[in-house]
Amino acid sequence: MVLLETQKLTKTFIGLKAVTNLDLSVNKGQLLGLIGPNGAGKTTTFNLISGALPVTSGKIIFKGKDITGFKPYMVARIGIVRTFQLASVFPDLSVMDNMRVALHYKSGVGFLQTIFETLAMERKEDGKVRGKAMKLLNIAGLSNLADVKAGNLPGGTQKLMSVIIALAGDPELLLLDEPMSGLNAEEIQTLIRLVKAIRDERGTGIIMVEHNMKVVMEHCEYIVVINFGEKIAEGTPSQIANDKRVIEAYLGSE
């Protein structure tokens, strides 16, 4: 089942064609790799899908619905959550507070309710939130770090945290922007195992922008290669590995 597809997605800045006529699609429960040399337009594509950048032309269709032009929070609400290259955590808050903030929207609390709510009512609500938060943290094995300030966590753990924060919104599609960057081999293994567990247990579709070729080739089911904003190849990892155009674009891949 097709979760998301882009149709002739184009983004031009004045004089610069960042993304041109990109047709991309990802299915439920599919781990799609989006690769390309630096500056190819991968993060721009994410920014377009998540609504952070306005589209110049083309469409973004999610579960049959046209979501082109949706603002980032609207995109998140309908089920697409992205992470950022630099860790997407709230650094000054504890891990548990990070989860509380991430789950805030889902708990449906408004401004007036917050002001007039008694402490007893808030504690009761918090009990529910803590329960959900612990469940999510357990997926990544982070529940013992609940009271640690997120900014003090090592880089690899922060990356795990950011995926769990993204998961709080119960997304059907995850956009992971270079999740492996800055991680050592062990951290990479932990993170990719988490990503695949999410895919397998929840049927979440995942688009992963990555530079780490080993990870992409080993774990992605399908790969789309872009260069200079245009799709130059797509296929399974073995097809991509032998594609002349990809090799040309990528002199010196890992």
């Binding site: 980032p72 959550v81 709230f90 903030v101 929207y105 917050t114 709080a168 919104g169």
Partner: protein
């Protein structure tokens, strides 16, 4: 948490002291100083709540002024009683803030500062030029004194400054309680996360823009209410009571006190109020003194006065353990 109960009991004691103070402090000069101090606390809290979002509201004095003018105009021209005009003086600035926010909150902090500065100057001009409504340079005078009937007595605001003292104190108390409640609640945690991580927040489904709108409108609501107390207190409302410089003093209060909690804003404002009281003879040198205070604070006390006790205690601990190790 031990320091929490410490803080609470201390604050309660100070509150009690403030409530009984007019019993033995009768000097109108001091009553009026405290009154202005309480109103400044409300403005400081208003400024603080926008600060935590990453915005400096340079037009805080203007919203204060809008509240003052609203009360004066409604009481003088529409003959409304004070208890009706008072809430309007909060609602109208809030509405204007809401409208301003549609553009102002979509841009980054620097541009918001410029926009509010421009608004401050524009309103200053409007207050002066629209003579039929605002009374021009000479302003609106005399602002009718509120007459409040409570518990079988009539509280006469015209007779002494004591009713104004309590009105301002109660307003400051309500504003303080509101913001303390807010910033310890889960919504407060979310608002605190807007500053540098608003993109991550948007990705959890929260409409950050709506939150900013609410915060801005509420902060100007309170600023307006403070103005509503100020107008009859001064008996006159003129354009030059509300200028950019007032805003600078408020910002300084927030900075010096500490930008990490509403209590910091309050402490810093009190500090600045005491300082300006001591410097009363030298008011023309104020800018000369405020500048160095700002620089010294940023250099040596970036966490503000509120962090000072903990820092001193830690320093003492550090020094005493060193001595023990040495001996």
């Amino acid at each position: 948490m031990k320091s929490g109960t410490w803080q609470k009991s201390f604050s309660l004691l100070i509150l009690l002291f403030l409530f009984v103070l007019p019993g033995f402090m009768h000097s109108p000069r001091y009553l009026s100083l405290f009154d202005e101090g309480f109103l400044n606390i409300v403005l400081a809290l208003s400024m603080y709540s926008m600060w935590t979002l990453g915005y400096v509201n340079a037009a805080t004095p203007t919203f204060f002024g809008l509240g003052a003018y609203t009360v004066a105009i409604l009481m003088m021209k529409a003959n409304l009683p004070f208890w009706l005009a008072f809430p309007m003086a909060g609602v109208i600035p809030a509405l204007i803030a809401f409208i301003l926010g549609f553009q102002g909150l979509k841009v980054r902090g620097t541009y918001f500062l410029i926009l509010t500065l421009a608004f401050c100057e524009f309103m200053g001009w409007l207050f002066t030029s629209w003579k039929s409504l605002f009374g021009g340079q000479t302003g609106l005078y005399p602002v009718p004194q509120p007459v409040i009937h409570a518990f079988g007595h009539t509280i006469n605001f015209a007779a002494s400054l004591v009713p104004y003292y309590y009105l301002a104190l109660i307003l400051a108390l309500i504003t303080g309680l509101f913001y303390f409640r807010l910033y310890t609640s889960r919504l407060g945690r979310v608002w605190d996360s807007i500053g540098k991580t608003e993109d991550i927040l948007a990705n959890t489904g929260i409409s950050v823009f709506t939150q900013k709108q609410i915060c801005f409108a509420v902060s100007c609501f309170f600023a307006g209410l403070a103005g509503a107390v100020y107008a009859p207190f001064m008996s006159i409302v003129t354009p030059n009571q509300f200028n950019f410089w007032q805003g600078v003093t408020i910002i300084l209060g927030v900075l010096v006190g500490g930008t990490y909690s509403p209590l910091g804003a309050i402490i810093g404002t009190v500090f600045m109020a005491v300082l300006s009281m001591l410097l009363q003879g030298y008011s023309q040198y104020q800018p000369l003194i405020w500048g160095p205070i700002l620089i010294l604070t940023l250099l040596f006390m970036p966490s503000g006065l509120i962090a000072l006790p903990m820092q001193i205690i830690n320093k003492i601990k550090e020094l005493t353990t060193r001595k023990i190790v040495q001996s």
